[in-house]
Symmetry: C3
Subunit: 331 residues, 3 copies
């Protein structure tokens, strides 16, 4: 399975090749099959240690990685920020080095600052440790596993048996909301345009600066478009991805009110009539019901892919841990 994999750290999707995306999709697909069995475990990472270093609180992402690691039979250590050495003045790099010395094989790291994962990966490489770093969200920078589970969800929807990149070629995908602060949007821009989809970003000007137009990777087949009004962005869209709105943006005067946001950018059944007939809606969660998306739409299993995204998350994270975990074994 995917014996050609060579990437050690999963930090960003900016430079992923089409072959890497295909390996990931294939591997996740085979794990999805494992998850449908009665006994959902494989011994692939038995005896290996996966350490979750979550400096920023998170429930769903940490649980998803923890379950993925356990189903690969790895041992899991959870670093709890509240009761940590950090309150005792230790640096983040020293915390990581301590867990390295205990025997960690893979670090899953979330931090409120962009670049922390890169810094830890650099240090681990400098020490020739051989361990892998998996970015589970660093500041406003990237959240690769979220974008990969979105990709997997979409490809499976288009061909359940054989999810692959080309299925998204020429599709129109709108990403709606607070683009500026979203690591989910940044990672999705890379993966979706790599698959050949056209990505239409839309949000209020305070949350979608013009500079995003420059993000596109010119070697990608898909193109990037910016909108400040919702309608042209979702017109004829195949998929609409709404982003979580952080309530604290309001106190920073970047948004007038939740109600006004919903009126202008909220996804409703009425608005989806602009899209393709079989349009589907995605959201990385957790959702503010009635803000990013109307409550009835969120619960409509025909339109909403939210549950599938969460389910895909376990298979995709198993695939990522498997690919980088068995890479180490081969070295």
């Amino acid at each position: 399975m995917a014996s050609t994999w060579t990437r050690q750290h999963i930090l960003s999707l900016a430079d992923w090749t089409a072959a890497e995306y295909e390996s990931l999709l294939q591997t996740a697909s085979s794990f999805r099959e494992v998850l449908s069995r009665r006994t959902k475990k494989v011994p692939a990472l038995q005896g290996q240690v996966v350490t979750n270093l979550f400096f920023e609180p998170s429930t769903r992402t940490r649980s998803s990685f923890e379950l993925a690691a356990k189903r690969l039979s790895a041992d899991v250590l959870n670093f709890a920020p509240g009761s940590s050495s950090l309150t005792k003045g230790e640096t983040i790099l020293d915390t990581a080095k301590t867990y390295l010395a205990m025997g960690t094989d893979i670090f899953v790291i979330r931090h409120q600052q962009a670049g922390v994962c890169h810094a830890i990966a650099d240090e681990m490489d400098r020490l020739q440790s051989g361990v892998s770093i998996l970015n589970a969200g660093d500041g406003q920078h990237e959240h690769p596993s979220q974008a990969l589970l979105d990709l997997f969800t979409l490809c499976c929807l288009l061909d359940d048996e054989n999810p692959r990149l080309e299925l998204l070629q020429g599709k129109k995908i709108a990403i709606v909301g607070d683009i500026l602060h979203s690591r989910v949007a940044r990672s999705n821009i890379w993966s979706l345009t790599a698959a050949g989809a056209d990505v239409h970003l839309v949000g209020p000007p305070t949350l979608l600066p013009q500079l995003f137009a420059g993000l596109a990777n010119s070697s990608h087949r898909g193109q990037l478009f910016l909108h400040w009004k919702l309608e042209p962005a979702i017109q004829d869209a195949d998929f609409v991805m709404t982003l979580r709105l952080q309530r604290e943006r309001m106190t920073n005067h970047l948004l007038p009110s939740l109600r006004e946001y919903h009126l202008r950018y909220g996804i409703t059944r009425e608005r989806l009539k602009l899209c393709q007939p079989f349009v589907k809606v995605l959201h990385p969660g957790p959702v503010n019901r009635g803000v990013e998306i109307s409550s009835d739409l969120m619960d409509d299993p025909v339109v909403s892919l939210i549950s599938q995204q969460v389910t895909s998350g376990v298979a995709v994270r198993m695939a990522l841990l498997y690919l980088i975990g068995t890479l180490k074994a081969e070295v």
Copy 2:
């Protein structure tokens, strides 16, 4: 083992049948035997995921369920309220649905509000998810696993080899203390009267309103009695169950002082002379020593069943998880 089990959710004991109690007692008894072996694990729930959603802090109950699940070889996810998506505005139902989508098979749920477990169970059924909900304490409503471990403890005491419901027929059991706020008392009223025991509730009038007289299930053989004075309640009792006194009741003016409570309702060696010669004392824990019960009595292994209750808890929770977990497999 108990192949006739059909109940999917454990929310309340109000409508449990005698046959269900007997299945539970038998299954717990066989797991108690497993726990006496050197290797205390069975593979019954291998690959299944038990998710503890504890919205209210708890140590002993969560640990007991966690250990029970691990000994059945399940994978356990713990939802930590402090670092959760709830602080991000997600609804409780959406949190549960997220863990469902990750692959949860059984939810163990504690919440400070009565009815939350029912609401989640209804939603899970509506989604035809097939998962089970186990109420680990919802507000002042019910705490079924606590009442079942009390029942198991008492039946084992009366016949260690063959614990069964009829052993409690005609016994007098006093439940002492803050009945009003106690989910433990409510669940015990159902199970003990179903077993044919007479249950005598006693506490200060502010904590034992008259309306409790109406709680009795008329089809149960055991009867329910209310007392505001301790003596008639424990006179000739076979068992005395004291309830934990929440210190915050005092600030609400429902109680004058801990000292006065102990003087009027505290269980002491002297007072137990009113009871049957071999009377035993139970307490769900954690105990306020010298308040609900005198400290020396609590530590007297001849009188106190407190440790046996905790030990029974693991076997009873293994039995509950096993019964609902293997039910799913057969469906």
Copy 3:
């Protein structure tokens, strides 16, 4: 492996015999070999329950014990102080007895008060429970597993194949810093002088009272020396162990400032020139970089043993859990 082991609790190193140290070193050495394999697990404690009762927050020590227990295939329960029954008024002994009744085989306990581990061990013995207590740090009293991992680290450095006590005979070891408040220093004094090393304590007079001179065990071959100036303490030293400086000491007026502390007692490359040519530096972590030790020195793999200490920690804790865990089986 080490079938002559008879000690049930690991509370203090004050009365350890040479034979016990040798058993520990040998057992840890064999587990270090296990940890170098691809599958790093052994089934030694399968079905046993190791409960971490950490009343004081800790990341590294708890994770190290948790990983050690998992690699011996034990089930691990973690007691979280924040969400605990302690806030509900339960005594520490009652908390321990609750976890005993659930089926705990080994308790790993950290508490801010000296003597708590002894008190729990006494109670467990009184109850003839057969369980073991492992002190993971009690107030300013002892931290045996830390001193044993320091010992193992030093002995392995001197003979990687066959780490044994006599290797430290006649070595000079300086322990620098806040001796008064350090449980690490106290435990190390016992183990290092038992090995025949001479231990030179050094720190400011407020943090190193004269009474420490009386700590030495006269039957030990190594001797204890006190210094208030750094230079004579580290002159010709083979090893320098710096202790963590608690920042809260400053607010208590025991220390003028971090900067002044570093100027007088900080370990720097310049100062190490006073020591033996191949001197090594130890620190129990977490480190305040630039306070106890200069930042460049800490990262110098030729001089610093800090990573090896952490790695040794897992093997030494596996050895301790194994020795007391299999003892129980044989009883």
